[in-house]
């Protein structure tokens, strides 16, 4: 017998049905696939544990670095400058530091050990160049810019790269100094990346640290940082000079042939002599690197050429440049002879360089090859 529906009953029952549908529709709002934004306090709760992924095994043979970390000695036992602030280590990093400068400038320092198959020097240099927005280079160019450091575990290639990626903050980026070495079973990477001027100021300490860590890898704990000298020193042609009055010679860093200091406190000027086999890069590259170090933008080759002035001495012809930034100034002179390039450079505050420039010119003129 057909059921008779009154309007009220149908309305009431429809309400129940629609209410059910509404409840289910609301329930369908699954929040598991939404992008979430939240703020959390920084360390210590945020520290990454040494074996984060222990709750359930992954099917990858090793959830850490593919190929496995190369077994390396502890890099943390090597002394570092006091202004290098240790950072939490991660699965990739075996040493990590942060250096802070003025006006928010920072530089990040890392040491990573990988397996033997971590790419050759050119591949890695091009990777670093791409990180700072620079085009890749060829092997020939690499030979010009790469410098070498001899340690107890072998030759370490060192490159100094400048460039600012699109949109990057110049207080935190703009330069990479990286070193890498490969022996039979492992590849060690050292890198400092950050504000160009700050990175430059840490270069000497960074090179010493690289040498010390490499020496510590072979158990040669007695190798002191200050003893790390460039290999070229032993085979470099010897030169002589007259040290101007008021300058004091200081122990050179790994990449330098000799170092001097003039002035004191806020007027301190750093003077260096460095030499490398080969051409040592083009004048444009070198001048632009020095400009970057004092916070100036790079210039075109034609513009650089107008800035370079000849400096003739009794023992040869030099090229020279005087670059003044907002707070710092660099005067440099260089010459190429007998398969080597020689750089003479003084960097410091504008007023101090103005005062020392005559001494610097006399110093270059006194050089005898």
């Amino acid at each position: 017998m057909p059921h008779r529906w009154s309007a009220e009953i149908i309305q009431m029952k429809l309400r129940v049905v629609f209410l059910s549908l509404v409840v289910i529709s609301l329930a369908a709002c699954n929040n598991k696939s939404e992008i979430k934004v939240y703020r959390v306090s920084k360390a210590p709760l945020e520290e990454i544990g040494p074996e984060q992924q222990g709750a359930m095994p992954a099917n990858a043979p090793s959830p850490s670095m593919p190929g496995g970390m190369a077994p390396v000695a502890s890099a943390t036992s090597v002394p570092v400058p006091p202004n290098w602030q240790p950072q939490p280590l991660s699965q990739m990093r075996q040493a990590s530091f942060l250096v802070k400068g003025v006006n928010g400038a920072v530089a990040d320092i890392s040491f990573v050990g990988l397996g033997a198959s971590a790419g050759n020097v050119l591949e890695n240099v091009n990777r670093w160049l791409s990180q700072i927005g620079q085009p890749p280079i060829e092997e020939q160019k690499l030979n010009q810019i790469a410098q070498h450091l001899t340690t107890s575990i072998g030759d370490v290639a060192v490159v100094d790269l400048a460039g600012l990626p699109i949109g990057a903050d110049s207080a935190k980026d703009g330069r990479i100094i990286a070193a890498m070495t490969t022996n039979g079973s492992s590849t060690l990477f050292f890198k400092i990346r950050g504000n160009a001027a700050l990175t430059e100021s840490q270069k000497s300490d960074f090179i010493k640290w690289v040498a010390a860590v490499c020496n510590s890898q072979s158990g040669n704990k007695s190798a002191q940082m200050a003893e790390a000298m460039p290999p070229e020193n032993s085979t470099n042609p010897q030169i002589k000079w007259q040290t101007p009055a008021g300058w004091s010679q200081v122990p050179p860093s790994a990449m330098r042939y000799a170092s001097f200091s003039a002035g004191a406190n806020n007027d301190k000027v750093d003077i260096s002599i460095a030499t490398f086999p080969g051409e040592g890069g083009s004048d444009t590259d070198n001048v632009n690197r020095w400009r970057q170090q004092i916070g100036l933008p790079p210039m075109s080759p034609a513009a650089v050429a107008t800035q370079v002035a000849p400096l003739k001495t009794s023992d040869g012809n030099f090229s020279s440049v005087d670059i003044a930034g907002a707070n710092a100034r660099t005067v440099a002179a260089w010459t190429r002879r007998a398969g080597h390039v020689w750089f003479f450079k003084a960097t410091g505050p504008n007023a101090a360089i103005e005062k020392e420039k005559p001494n610097f010119v006399k110093f270059v003129e006194s050089v005898r090859f």
Binding site: S20, A28, K32, Q52, P66, S90, L114
Partner: protein, 385 residues
């Protein structure tokens, strides 16, 4: 309209839904062989529709109702039929209660499926954590680390990475373009991967790593290792900041600077942050003498909640979970060498539904059979007289 009401209140619909549910369970059970239990559950039971092909950013067609749809139609059918035939008499109280219990149970099951979150917290002795992790899901965390005290995290679930080619979110000054996405992958250094390997990233360690896609894992105790190549494109200018390889097999976050801020990107297991922290004080694992059979394992933790001024020690052991702020911490496991405890953290807003439903159904059956028993006894007594 009447036809619609008749459809939703018909017993035939119930039969069709039950038959569809049986077919779905059969197909889902077979699918577990190839997909594994978790993926099969998601595709067949925790979905509104079963799609073909299952994984595609392009054209897909629904081929069968999913578990959520069948359950929802059954629920509507039950409520509608109940409303249509509802007549209030004391004699039908048992039937009404039993149906109400079933409705609560079905609705509770649906709500649990939709809103319950299960995650894990792994703690070594002395470890403190304010988040749990979902080992079954990964997320791309884009972290603004500029602030000295707080990190702002934009967590992009794996499902969004899989579905969207371009991610443009208000919290980020750049767009993220997903160049490649691999549900499961194996990472190898180039030298190991062979000469044909090509990088899919040009920034960070990913530029030295070859990504090899591999079939999804079906083992219950394994999980996939998703990987993606993401390109960062500034919103307010042209150009590209570069392409990064992200995978939780890489571990450490990778950093870059943009817009005067420092950023880190990392693919990691999905995290659920909490306004309180848990510290493992001690983990105890007792075995029966002379065997490796667990007798008892327990975690003594300290719960600290600054908002509520809570700082207390709690012992979590089997069948004695910690319930706090809507979450339940169960003692779920431990690392093989007893170095760490693994707590299962369950957030289920409808966890009471099955208990309430069972009590109501039991009460309904008691009332219903009670009426029958009393009626039968009266009838027998009057016949005897």
């Amino acid at each position: 309209m009447r036809k619609i009401v008749d459809l939703f209140t018909s017993l035939k619909l119930t039969i069709v839904c039950l038959a569809a549910a049986m077919a779905l369970i059969f197909a889902g059970t077979l699918a577990q062989v190839h997909l594994g239990i978790h993926e099969a559950q998601q595709r067949y039971f925790q979905s509104w529709l079963v799609w073909w092909p299952a994984e595609s950013r392009g054209f897909r067609i629904p081929i069968f109702p999913g578990g959520h749809l069948i359950g929802a139609v059954l629920l509507v059918n039950l409520i509608a039929a109940h409303a249509k035939r509802f007549r209030w008499t004391w004699r039908k109280l048992g039937i009404q209660l039993t149906h109400a219990g079933l409705i609560i149970m079905l609705a509770g099951g649906l709500f649990t499926d939709l809103f319950a979150i299960e995650s894990h917290m792994r703690l070594e002795r002395g470890d403190t954590k304010n988040y749990s992790e979902d080992q079954r899901h990964t997320e791309l965390a884009v972290i603004d680390t500029t602030d000295n005290d707080l990190d702002q995290i934009t967590a992009i679930p794996e499902s969004v990475l899989k579905r969207n080619r371009t991610i443009d979110h208000w919290s980020l000054p750049f767009r993220i373009v997903v160049r490649n996405f691999y549900q499961n992958s194996r990472l190898r250094m180039f030298a190991e991967a062979g000469t044909n390997a090509r990088p899919i990233a040009n920034q960070g360690p990913g530029a030295m790593i070859a990504v090899e896609p591999i079939p999804r894992t079906t083992a219950a105790d394994e999980r996939d290792v998703p990987a993606a190549a993401i390109e960062i494109l500034p919103k307010d200018s042209g150009g590209s900041l570069g392409t990064w390889l992200v995978s939780d097999a890489l571990g450490a976050p990778q950093g870059f600077s943009y817009g005067g801020r420092t950023w880190k990107v990392v693919m990691r297991t999905a995290r659920y942050y909490k306004p309180y922290s848990v510290t493992l004080q001690k983990f105890t694992h007792e075995r029966y003498a002379g065997t490796d059979i667990p007798k008892n394992f327990a975690s003594k933790v300290t719960l600290i909640d600054p908002e509520r001024s809570v700082n207390r020690d709690v012992l979590i052991y089997m069948n004695h979970p910690l319930r706090y702020r809507g979450e339940t911490f169960y003692q779920a496991g431990f690392q093989q060498d007893d170095r760490a405890t693994i707590l299962q953290v369950v957030h289920n807003p409808s966890f009471l539904a099955p208990y309430v439903a069972c009590v109501i159904v039991a009460a309904g059956l008691l009332v219903q059979f009670g009426f029958h028993l009393v009626g039968f006894a009266r009838q027998k007594r009057s016949t005897t007289k």
